[in-house]
Assembly symmetry: C2
Homo-oligomer: 695 residues x 2
């Protein structure tokens, strides 16, 4: 847990300058850092990206762009699977609800936030006070700067920083390859290496119908990285749990993860059964299926990690070591010990209502955007009349524009797909709470889950964005009068959902924050600032070395004519990069069968390609989900790759960093240029990436 390795998703206002200097002889300059910050992009679809031209062009992953590509598609037009390229600028396609954020400034507001909470406050009061001061800081910032303003909780409550972002809501799709090459190998090869994926897509940000100017951007490297190069990853890692206590991790292992996997497998089954009904239904369910399968594989890896006794032991040892450090620092102070015990107590309490909370408030019982829309309509009627600081956090003024942007999105919703998803999730609700539970009876309203899903989807008018606007504009009265079954459902469960949320805030969130703040305090005193906070889907800087890894004595996956065979080998090394040639070979070995099929364009154009072009590469840099689409940079701050995945050994990185075999995986910058030049009619895009005129 100390910075004796390439561990760390570092805050941009607290980067590991000394370690980089000492270990890599690299001087991290302010200009370099500033450019990295201003050229890095967060996408509200849950990924990262970076500007790669002065004209607002940005690169991310195909699988991050998937949400927009899917929403731009319709029966007969399938941008997600078939790809897209805008041959001229006026053909760039505006995404219905893609928002991007560009971080402008970070301010430490820890003292201000903590000052609002006094020791004699009860958890509920403390939570409200903290929410109020965070809301006030954000509100003031918004008023002063006009920027999207978020107070971010770091170290699980050890620190609070204000993040100010420029945001753009006119984002247009420029290029997206075929899914077959973007995620070649599909679910089978997800979280595996070697990989041969062109997992990239390009967007352009607009304002007032014109491309924005982005003087801070990453120059596209023609050569890409070499073996043993130092590289950096700037992106938005989603969540890690490295600083969580052993009790919290065991709670995850024994309660949260099993419940989550049960849920994901239920949804995955429903989506795959729906998709099997016809090619069009497969198209409709495509991106949902990908997200759910990806989450299932990631969480499965987490569970295997936490069920590995050596990892639990490692966590126990590091917790004990920190405890000893605390005792050394202040022999009579029981704060550390008490905080550890308190977090264990909190888990025992949380177990009692974690499922109802997840089902009703997080919304696991209602796996459909239609319910989410209904809930927002219902809650906005209640929340917006309140003072911003008193509202539920998602309805604070500084977030309202983004919220409405998504809520009123004209993106298509397919009623039959929603029926299938709702049937699955309503059934999951009943499976978890039982048929006689009051919540279940309230939600199902005298029907079984399948019939209730029919009733809700057949009866709702919320597929129409105008109806959503009408309800939001109409406020309390419009909601009170609405007979829309989805609105009626959202109203019916709201009291109980809010009660569970308050319980979570008072019995879990706030007491955990206080306890973790105490742990963070000990950690700072014992280890200084050599530990980065857990990931929070905010901008971080990671770094590492481009290198392959040994799989001696380990299981290896080989692709043979008989399919994938796993066996043990001695001392074999997986090279740091793959080539185009390997993609063609592997596809041939797998009989060209999905998910190892290649697009016609690639099969036809094979002879045009330099088959030795590096395709994907790995490095030891510390990444996690949310880092998808992160720019990978060299010492000069040039873009040498686009991060898109980790290997299976990296799945435990939620809990511990390891670089023995764990690697993140990126598309090589040169592979993108070679493919665009030889296979796609994408001269305009290539010129822009090469720093020639953009048109």
């Amino acid at each position: 847990m100390t910075a004796n390795s390439d561990e760390g998703m570092w805050l941009l206002n607290s980067p590991p300058r000394e370690y980089l200097k000492k270990q890599y002889g690299f001087e991290l300059k302010d200009d370099w850092l500033k450019n990295a910050m201003l050229a890095s992009v967060r996408l509200n679809s849950g990924g990262s990206g970076g500007f790669v031209s002065p004209d607002g062009l940005l690169v991310t992953n195909h699988h991050v762009a998937a949400d927009s590509a899917q929403k731009l598609s319709k029966p007969g037009l399938d941008l997600y699977n078939d790809g897209f390229y805008a041959e001229t600028r006026d053909k760039e396609l505006k995404c219905p609800d893609l928002e991007i954020n560009v971080l402008q400034k970070i301010t430490d507001v820890t003292k201000e936030v903590n000052a609002a909470v006094t020791p004699n406050m009860k958890p509920g009061e403390a939570f409200a006070a903290r929410r109020a001061i965070m809301g006030k800081i954000e509100q003031d910032s918004l008023k002063e700067t006009g920027l999207r303003s978020d107070v971010v909780t770091l170290y699980n409550g050890g620190a609070y920083h204000l993040y100010q972002y420029k945001k753009y809501t006119d984002v247009r799709l420029v290029f997206s390859p075929e899914k077959a090459i973007a995620s070649f190998g599909g679910d089978v090869d997800n979280f595996e290496f070697p990989r041969m994926n062109l997992d990239v897509a390009f967007f352009r940000a607009y304002e007032n119908d014109k491309p924005i100017k982005t003087p801070n951007y990453f120059k596209w490297s023609e050569t890409g990285p070499k073996e043993n190069d130092l590289v950096f990853v700037t992106g938005h890692p989603g969540t890690t749990q490295r600083l969580e206590t052993l009790a919290r991790l065991k709670h995850r292992r024994d309660y949260t993860l099993p419940y989550t996997l049960y849920r994901l497998r239920t949804l995955e089954a429903a989506l795959s059964q729906y998709g099997m009904q016809s090619p069009e239904k497969a198209r409709q369910a495509g991106t949902d299926q990908h997200s759910v399968a990806n989450a299932r594989k990631a969480f499965s890896g987490q569970l295997q990690g936490l069920l590995d006794p050596s990892i639990i032991e490692q966590k126990a040892k590091s917790e004990a070591a920190l405890g000893e450090a605390a005792t050394k620092l202040a022999p009579d102070d029981a704060t550390f010990k008490n905080a550890i015990a308190q977090i264990a107590d909190i888990q025992a309490k949380y177990r009692e209502f974690e499922k109802p909370y997840g089902l009703l408030e997080t919304g696991h019982a209602f796996f459909s955007p239609l319910f989410g829309i209904a809930r927002h309509c219902v809650r906005m009627a209640d929340e917006l009349p309140k003072k911003p600081a008193d509202r539920l956090r998602e309805y604070r003024d500084s977030n309202l524009e983004s919220l409405k942007f998504g809520l009123f999105s004209p993106a298509p919703i397919y009623p039959e797909l929603e029926r299938a998803k709702l049937t699955a999730s309503l059934t999951f609700l009943a499976e978890n709470l039982g048929g006689d539970s009051e919540i279940v009876k309230l939600v199902l309203a005298g029907k079984n889950p399948a019939s209730r899903a029919d009733e809700l989807v057949n009866g709702t008018k919320l597929l129409d964005p105008d109806e959503r606007k009408r309800l939001v504009d109409g406020g309390k009265q419009a909601i009170a009068e609405s007979k829309d079954p989805m609105i009626v459902l959202a109203k019916a469960v709201d009291a109980e959902a809010r009660r569970l949320r308050t319980r979570y805030e008072n019995e879990v969130e706030e007491p955990e924050r206080q306890a973790y703040a105490a742990l963070a305090d000990t950690r700072f005193k014992a280890l200084g600032d050599t530990v980065a906070p857990d990931a929070t889907f905010t901008l971080r800087l990671a770094f590492g070395t481009v290198k392959g890894y040994d799989i001696g004595g380990q299981k290896v996956r080989r692709h043979t004519t008989k399919g994938i065979v796993e066996h043990l080998v001695d001392g074999e090394t997986v090279p740091f990069r793959t080539t185009f040639d390997q993609a063609f070979k592997k596809s041939a070995e797998m009989g060209g069968k999905e998910p190892f099929d290649l697009p016609k364009r690639w099969l036809d154009g094979k002879s045009k390609l330099d088959l030795e072009t590096p395709f994907n590469f790995v490095s030891t840099a510390d990444t996690i989900g949310g880092n998808s689409g992160s720019p990978v940079l060299n010492r000069d701050g040039e873009l040498v790759g686009i991060n898109f995945d980790r290997n299976r050994h990296g799945l435990v990185r939620n809990f511990v960093y390891t670089d023995v075999q764990a690697r993140h995986i990126a598309v090589h910058s040169n592979a993108v240029l070679e493919a665009l030049r030889k296979l796609y009619p994408a001269g305009r895009l290539v010129r822009e990436l090469s720093g020639q005129r953009s048109d």
Copy 2:
């Protein structure tokens, strides 16, 4: 619940003669019944069938034959998917472990069994006494007749009958069509109608290397059934829960079914992910995938049924009505009320250990034949030295031959598939009991589930049937000395597994039997013998009318060029049968894409077929899982169809019979002849079915 409908899976020694006479004017003669009994067949792979020639030829479903077809396959030879036909008798393929049973005689032994249990016995004593007397009856029967002898528990403990079977273990595959036409529509159309499936396969039973003589067989009808015909189904329905109390059903709804679906979805995900890795792996996992998907769909339907308030209400009402009848019969006798209360109490107790019991003793934690083999080896060493009456039921002498037949089967087992299945099920174990549970620690032995599965499968020698024989022959000493990791695991968990089994027997099985016996007593007194017992995978007779059904105001599934579309219609009738033509049309509409692809033979041979040939048909007869492959007979006892499925409305038949829309689905006898004559080079088989010479 009374015989005012076509409800009932009737015992062959207690058929509904009066109702058939009154309702259908059909006189059920002893000869008819005797022929039906002696020509009906039970397959140990879990289905039904019937002899259709005097030379041991028997018909069943393709999906019942799947287990054998899979075991006869290997890399490069895929009988399950590609089909098989033995052009000459000497090419008929001996199945590695298929056993068939033909019922010879039923004897009521209720008095004898109940006499062994005295009122002052504790549950454990009562259970042992009952097991002992059942064992003794079976043992005596075996000695006297040489027949496989099973004492069957009926009415959940209301009656006990001795079933004596001839058994055959040399069963050879004669014909099996391609999977694409046998289960056209796959999981999408499973439990749906209209259907167009050639879900049939033919075997022949041998003794001493010669076909057996079967003077009792069903004559194959060239014409098949007409609309409104009375038909009979003779087969082996697996399990129903119609006589269970409301408390038991709610326990199923809220505990057993959610756990079961969680388990099945976990396995299905693991199998489908394995199969995606290559065509060969898809082949290996094919039949497991089918079974698990089929179970998942059936149990999902059951859960939707029990979550339907109208069904729960119906069960509550019928339980109340029976209570009133009991009071009328004996106003001061609380036996009925007490039994109802006792069954509710039992469920509360069962909840406490249902999961560990299922995981450890039923074996849900070990989804691999290898563990099952290991457990049998370990337990046989303990059980065989005991007196037969004291052994666990599966090791009684009368069952031992069948057990060894399966245990020493040379059927292939694929190590990589077993690793994937064990990883999934060991993970499922940890998910359910938590990483700190003693059972989990014992089973995982210091590894995570994936590594533990590797260790077990890589280290075991049980893939070799000779090693199994060696261990069984070596008895206690061989087991004690064995270091085989799978044997070591089976030994390690055996004490706890047996403890859970005893707890189940004493706290659930025996008390439930006694309580249900009291309920059965009331039911007999109030309703006479007009209620058939719940299904027990023993031979039953059902009957019904061949007819379509109304779907007015109901959701309809339509196959369009855009895929399957469900919508509401008024007063539409689904005809009682489909035709060959519909299969071709549907496949074309679905773009010929799996699971709606047709075999090349069918596409090429289309013009040879009479496209108006009836393909599948439905009737109101009362069936359930296990009835797969059941002969469907006309008044003359001729075979007019082969049952293979129910429609979605029939999924609630576990709990209630309904004939409004619920139907079982059968392959039309003429469809089989037409396909065999025109598409397959199966002249030999056609001649035998037509009553001409068999060669």
